[in-house]
């Protein structure tokens, strides 16, 4: 499990680079690196389905970011020298919120089962009877399309709505 800890350090370093750097195309590449380390961590916790989807979605996210950055400016013009006076108040608020959020999260995460031994009450039934009742060898596909088909229908609706929203926003209106 030493690889997981090294990858966590790389992921956090890339995240901090992505939000602090001045050049915007470099920030898009850093977001791509965060997604790539998340995909490798999915492989290390034995979830190959998620790793495939995460890699292809992350490549498309970087392509979309690059398409928008090349239509607008390349350089972040808001980072000047010295301490910016107008964002001291949001930073102090975020600091207080962050500390309290972390303390409550520690209380909540203590009640979870420890890492590496989940309680699998419903999942044991799915694993034992999945092959006979649905006929699919991939248990994750059996869960998302047979046992929980409603969630897939909801996801198809959300994706359709987001495509509709993008095409409605980027329409040529005329003289506006």
């Amino acid at each position: 499990m030493i690889e997981l800890y090294l990858l966590i350090i790389a992921m956090l370093a890339a995240a901090i680079v992505a939000i602090e750097i001045k050049d915007l195309l470099a920030a898009a590449v850093a977001v791509g690196l965060v997604g790539f380390t998340v995909a490798i961590m999915f492989i290390l916790v034995s979830a190959p389905d998620l790793a495939i989807v995460q890699i292809v979605v992350e490549v498309l996210t970087v392509v979309f970011f690059a398409a928008v950055i090349l239509r607008t400016t390349h350089i972040d013009t808001t980072i000047g020298k010295g301490i910016d006076k107008e964002i001291v108040f949001p930073q102090v608020c975020f600091f207080i919120f962050g500390i309290s959020f972390l303390i409550f999260a520690l209380y909540a995460l203590k009640d979870l089962p420890p890492f590496g031994s989940p309680i699998m009450k419903v999942a044991n039934t799915y694993i034992k009877e999945g092959l006979e009742k649905t006929g699919a060898a991939n248990l994750v596909a059996a869960v998302i399309l047979d046992y929980r088909g409603y969630d897939t229908l909801g996801e198809a609706t959300v994706l359709f709505t987001s495509v509709l929203g993008v095409l409605a926003i980027l329409r040529k209106i005329g003289r506006k």
Binding site: L50, R71, F94
Partner: protein, 112 residues
């Protein structure tokens, strides 16, 4: 336990980018980071030590698998995250066409 705290740390970095940054692309990057952090937390919850991936082949007879339910929930969440990011980016394209800048302080000044 440290792995869960690291996921919450990535989530807090995302909220920091949304709350304090002034460039619109950095805000969109913050939303993207929050999605990645939540998906990673769910995948960590379903992990079982020394178990195999939940695919039944002709060689796995003892059926010692990881939990397939959190993986099914995260699968749809990843694709929905892509749709959300695309919607935010299309709004940014429209704002740039109208105001010719990506700085939210300038945009607030130009309105009045």
């Amino acid at each position: 336990m440290i792995l869960f705290i690291a996921c919450i740390g990535l989530f807090l970095i995302g909220i920091y980018a949304v709350a304090t940054k002034r460039n619109l692309i950095k805000i969109a990057i913050g939303f993207c980071m929050m999605e990645y952090a939540v998906n990673l937390l769910f995948a960590f919850i379903g992990f079982k030590k020394n178990a195999l991936a939940p695919i039944i082949t002709s060689q796995t007879l003892e059926r010692n698998f990881v939990d397939p339910i959190p993986q099914a929930l995260v699968l749809t969440s990843i694709v929905i995250g892509l749709g959300t990011t695309a919607l935010i980016l299309s709004l940014i394209v429209r704002i740039y066409e109208k105001y010719k800048t990506l700085d939210i302080k300038e945009i607030r000044k130009l309105r009045g």
